[in-house]
Each structure stands twice: as C-alpha cells, then as structure tokens.
C-alpha cells in the first residue's frame, strides 16, 4: 500500500502515505511525494480538494491522521509548528494589526537572539526586496491589499526559512496586482533559491509560476508534473478537464483502429484498448483546425454547423453542432484573422480537421 517509508537521499521534503480525516470526511488520502531543494511547487485543485489541508499538515498547523513527513532528512511528522523550519503567507495575510510593518517583519527575528542593529538591517533588506521600504513605519491597515501581501511575504522570509509556504497568496487581489505579484514572487524565489510550495485554485497562476504542479482532487494527487506535462499530457480525465478547456465525448474503439460514434469515425492511436471498448475522448479546442471548403483531404475531416460564436479577444470560440455529437457539444478556438478569412457566421457550415495525435483517450466513465 505504501510506496516507501525509507528516506529519499535527494529529497528536501518527503511525504509518505499522509492521510487526514475529519470524522467521516477524508480530506487527504494517502499522499506521497518528494520535493527537491529549490523547487517551486504548486498544489492546484478546485476548492475542497485538500490542497490547503496538505499545506497545513506540512506546516504542523494540522496534524495528519496517518503517514510521515520528512524535511531535510529529519522526521518532522510530530514536531510542533513553532519548531518547524518554514515561513508561511496566509490567504488572509494574518498580519499583526497592532504592529508596524517593520515590527511585523522583525517579529520572527526577536527570539533568534539577534542584536538590534542586525535585526534593523535585516528588516530593511527584506522590505527593499519586496519594494516596500517607504512604508516601514506604517501599520498594516494603512496599506493596500497588494502591499499587505508583500509585507506578509517579507515576514515569512525574515528568518531565512528552508521552506516557503504560500496559501492562495494572490486570491484576494485584483487581476493587475495579481499578475505583477506573480512575477515578483517568482523572481524573489529564484533569487533566494528557497524551496516553495504554493496552494492555488488558479491554473494560470500555477502554470506561470511553478516548476512542477501537483494537481489535486478529492484528497488525492491526480498528477504531478511540469506545467507542460500537465497541459499536454493530462494523466486523468479530471486533469484534462480541470486544466485548460477540453472537449469530451464518448466513443468506442473501431474495427482496425480509431474510434467511432454514430456516423463519425476518427483516426487516432488507440493504444492497447480492444475493439468495441467504450472510451472517453478528449480534444482541446485549439487543436481543432478549420480548413478551407476545398482544402486538403487528410484524416479526420468533418463538417459541422456553427451554433454560436464567442469572442475572446485574440481568438473566437465556435460552438459546433455535429450529427454524432449533438448541438454545441464541440468547441473549437480559431484565431480572429482566420475566422474573418473563412467568413464564419452562426448557422453556416465549417470544415474542420482533428489531427489524430491531438486526440487523447481515457477509460470510460465521465470525468470526476
């Protein structure tokens, strides 16, 4: 059942069979992973998937029901929070409202037996790192959300922790500040080289910031991999559905390869699935190519009716109706210029091609 309970020599942080139950509710189910030193990891998943609980177990703010947590080779499973080596930024910031910005940042340093001038220098260094030097003597209540978040980051980094934990640090900010802080946090992490785990439900945030993403669902890690792997080779229907946009339809494996549904036959790599097996087929809207009416005759060319059109800035999303799939079931993303060139209109027909390599197949059963 357990993968291994031996310490991995290269791992900075290692979880073995970590589970957490609140009564009958299983928040975490047998979580195993290792993180190397200096990595930037994102726990990504919908709300209630257990990602924050997992982060809090690592911090010791929550106690796992089962399993072990190792950090830097030492077993920290039962260590109290105050003795673990990490800094944390909470979703609510949890700054101390009665202390100034500099006292907030200095707070973790006071019991490190540092001399006063050394603490002062360290605070100044951290505040310049997060670009807040001019707010040093203000109170948190006098700062904007983005500024408060940066104070929280400086406070978390003050003691030079081995591990930085970020619990949805950007979710309370508006889009522009969020995008700016994303780059800033990643730049600081690169400069300091501190191992970082960030919890987020925002896939764009995870994809732009993380070295590796751990996609979570219902207390389990569904897939762990680089942003590229997660997007281009989703391991499960859940990941395929959760990351980016995905067309799903069921079909059965046809005689001599490919899949068939009604009068629609698509060529694709069926792997080891036997003929007649029902499968979930997944295609990303941007992988569907629109071709000229008299265009080439490759594989998987289909005619469809345009149900509706959605303008999404640099591209348009077509909702297509096919006899085999039903109305509006298939979405295709087309660049704006091509849409104009092909003169696409609601009610018109389009020819499209689904490259066989872009069709992914999963065992049947609807995506969770």
């Amino acid at each position: 059942m357990r993968a291994s309970t031996d310490a991995d020599a290269n791992a900075f942080l290692q979880l073995d069979g970590v589970s957490k139950a609140f009564g009958d509710f299983h928040a975490l189910v047998d979580v195993n992973f290792t993180i190397a030193e200096g990595e930037f990891i994102c726990f990504l998943g919908p709300s209630g998937c257990g990602k924050t609980t997992l982060l809090r177990c690592i911090a010791g703010l929550e106690t796992q029901s089962e399993g072990r947590i190792r950090m830097g080779g030492a077993d920290i499973s039962w260590l109290p929070t105050s003795e673990r080596d990490f800094g944390i930024v909470f979703q609510s910031y949890a700054l101390f409202p009665n202390l100034t910005v500099s006292d907030n940042v200095a707070y973790g340093l006071v019991n490190k037996r540092m001399a006063k001038p050394a603490i002062k220098a360290r605070v100044a260094e951290l505040l310049s790192l997060v670009d807040l030097s001019e707010h040093i003597s203000k109170y948190p209540g006098q700062l904007s959300g983005g500024e408060q978040q940066r104070v929280a980051l400086a406070r978390a980094l003050a003691t030079s922790p081995g591990l930085l934990l970020l619990d949805e640090p950007l979710s309370a900010l508006d889009a522009k500040v969020r995008a700016h802080l994303r780059r800033e946090i990643r730049a600081i992490q690169d400069r300091l080289g501190v191992t970082t785990i960030m919890v987020t439900h925002d896939q764009e945030e995870a994809q732009t910031m993380a070295d590796r993403i751990f996609v979570m669902n219902e207390g389990r890690i569904e897939q762990l991999g680089t942003p590229d792997e997660i997007y281009n080779a989703p391991a499960t229907p859940f990941v395929a559905d959760f990351i980016g946009v995905m067309n799903f339809f069921t079909a059965t494996v046809a005689e001599g390869g490919g899949v068939v549904r009604g009068d629609l036959t698509l060529a694709c790599e069926t792997g080891g699935h036997g003929e007649g097996t029902e499968l979930n087929c997944a295609v990303r809207p941007e992988d569907i190519r629109l071709i000229d009416r008299d265009g080439d005759d490759g594989a998987n060319i289909i005619e469809a009716t345009v149900d509706s059109i959605e303008f999404l800035g640099s591209f348009v999303r077509l909702y297509l109706a096919l006899p085999a799939l039903g109305a509006g079931e298939l979405r295709a993303d087309v660049r704006k210029e091509q849409a104009q060139h092909l003169d696409i209109a609601v009610g018109g027909t389009v020819r499209l091609r689904i490259p066989p390599a872009t069709i992914r197949l999963y065992e049947a059963g609807p995506p969770r």
């Binding site: 703010l61 003795e83 009665n98 019991n111």
Partner: protein, 293 residues
C-alpha cells in the same frame, strides 16, 4: 429600514399615557401621602463646621463618597489583575490552570454576593492579612509616608479591614472580568496565533505582543461598563463595616429618621458618580476611535 425617527400616532398615545401616569403619581404624593419633606436635615451631612476653627469640613456624605471611590479604585485594580489571570487561566493549555479558573468563576457566578463577600472577608482578613501584621503600620512608618498611605487607603488603623473588604470585592468582580478577558482573547482570529506559531514564537510571547494588545482594544468598552458596575457593587462592602456611601446613608437615615430624603440623596450621589464616569468613558472611546482612523 430608515434611520430617521418617525413620530406616529402610536407615539402620541404612549407619551400621553406616561404623562397621565406621572400626573397621577404627583397628585397622590401631594394630596394623599401625608409626608412632610425635610431636606435640610440630611443635607447638612455634606459639610459641617469644624469645632476648632469654625471652617467648613467634609461631613459623613462626602467622606462616604471618598471611601466609595477609594474602595472602587482599588477593587478595580485588583479585580482587573485577578480577572486577567483567571481569564487567561480559562483558556490555558494547562488543564490545572483551566480547572482552577473555571472553579473560581463558577463559584462566584453561582453564589449570592453577600455570603460570598462575608466568607472572603473573614477568610482573607483572618488567614491572609492578619499574619502580614498590618495592624502596626501607623506606628511603623514616618508621618509623611503615613499621610500618603492614608490618602491611598484611608485611616491606617482600619487598614486590615479596608484591605480585606477591597480584596473580597475584587475577587467578586474578578470573575466577571475574567469572562470579559476570555471572550476578548477568543475573539482574536485563529490566524494570528497561527502566524505567531509559524514564526517560531512561544505562546506567552505571542499573547503579550500580539494577542493581548488587540484583545484589550476590543474589551475596553465592556471593561469600562464593568467598572461602573463595580462602583454600584461597592455598596455591598457597607455590610463589612466599611464606611462608604451606603454605610453613611444608613447611619444618617437612622439618626435623623429622614429615610426618603437620605436615600434619595445617596441614590443621586451614586447616579452622579456613575453617570459622570460613563460620559467620560464615552468621550474617551470616541477619541480613541477617531485617532485609530
């Protein structure tokens, strides 16, 4: 819902009823209650002429107010200290502290104040303060020091009595203050504790620098309210022969037989002190709120 007050026909009816009732009471008092008011007699207990030099000196009522304020002040100081310890004890991680604090608070809340004060008065006076030897204080200190002590605690030959009564009152009020302190600390978001834990600081350190400063800000209004309550409760120590306002009122009422007048005067004095204090608190609170903005 509108914030502006509307004056409707129902208000007219209610106010009309109240006016009618007051008129009836005045009529009864004037015409049927055969009582000859005599305010002069009790009023002379505010000030009297000194027999030696003929100047005005405070009489029993003023002395009573001073002692009431003295008992209340020390009762509040001690009560806050006891309440803070007991309040923090109730949320301690040490089960023994929790048990002791809980036992204390429940005892006070479920026992009538008079028996509680008597028991504490005799227990504290005889078992704790007697061995301290407070009796000889007036002889042991210089006249100057004695003067300062007298200003703070009243007549020094009654010091043990005063201390025991004040401590008994403080123990009574402390239980209520403990509940206020507990509620204040519990009202601080859990994230504040978690942030402190994450920074590696001890619980005591967090309490002192982060939790209590925030909690104190929140519990200042209920604490101010409790201190006014304490002034009113201080009338209970008249039973312990502390010569404060109520005690003096009793003396005057008995010696002059002007019960109505005397007690109305004493009640008015309590009202002036308590209402005055509540106005001062309200003003302070407004100022604090303004400066925080």
């Amino acid at each position: 819902m509108t914030a502006r007050m509307r004056f409707g026909w129902l208000d007219v009816v209610v106010i009309g009823c109240v006016v009618a009732l007051l008129a009836y009471v005045a009529y009864r008092v004037h015409g049927h209650l055969v009582y000859h008011w005599n305010w002069a007699e009790p009023l002379q207990f505010f000030f009297r002429r000194d027999e030696a030099d003929g100047g005005w000196v405070p009489n029993l009522l003023i002395e009573g107010v001073i002692i009431t304020l003295r008992v209340s002040l020390w009762g509040a100081v001690l009560g806050m200290a006891i309440g803070l310890l007991a309040g923090l004890g109730r949320i301690s991680q040490v089960a023994l502290f929790r048990m002791i604090s809980r036992g204390y608070v429940e005892l006070v809340r479920n026992v009538a104040p008079v028996p509680f004060l008597f028991i504490m008065f005799f227990f504290v006076g005889n078992q704790i303060l007697k061995p301290l030897g407070l009796e000889g204080v007036q002889d042991a200190v210089s006249p100057a020091t004695g003067g300062v002590l007298e200003l703070m605690f009243g007549e020094l030959n009654l010091l043990r009595n005063f201390a025991a009564a004040t401590l008994a009152l403080a123990l009574y009020e402390g239980a209520y203050i403990a509940e206020i302190v507990r509620a204040g600390v519990l009202s601080i978001e859990r994230g504040q504790w978690e942030a402190g834990d994450s920074l590696g600081l001890s619980r005591l350190h967090q309490l002192r620098h982060v939790i209590l400063p925030q909690a104190v800000q929140r519990i200042t209004p209920p604490l101010a309210n409790q201190s006014i309550q304490l002034i009113k409760d201080s009338s209970l120590v008249s039973l312990l022969s502390i010569q404060e306002m109520t005690f003096m009122g009793q003396e005057i009422a008995h010696s002059t037989s002007r019960f109505f007048e005397t007690w109305i005067i004493v009640a008015a004095m309590y009202f002036v002190v308590c209402f005055g204090l509540s106005r001062i608190y309200a003003r302070l609170e407004r100022r604090i709120n303004k400066s925080r903005r």
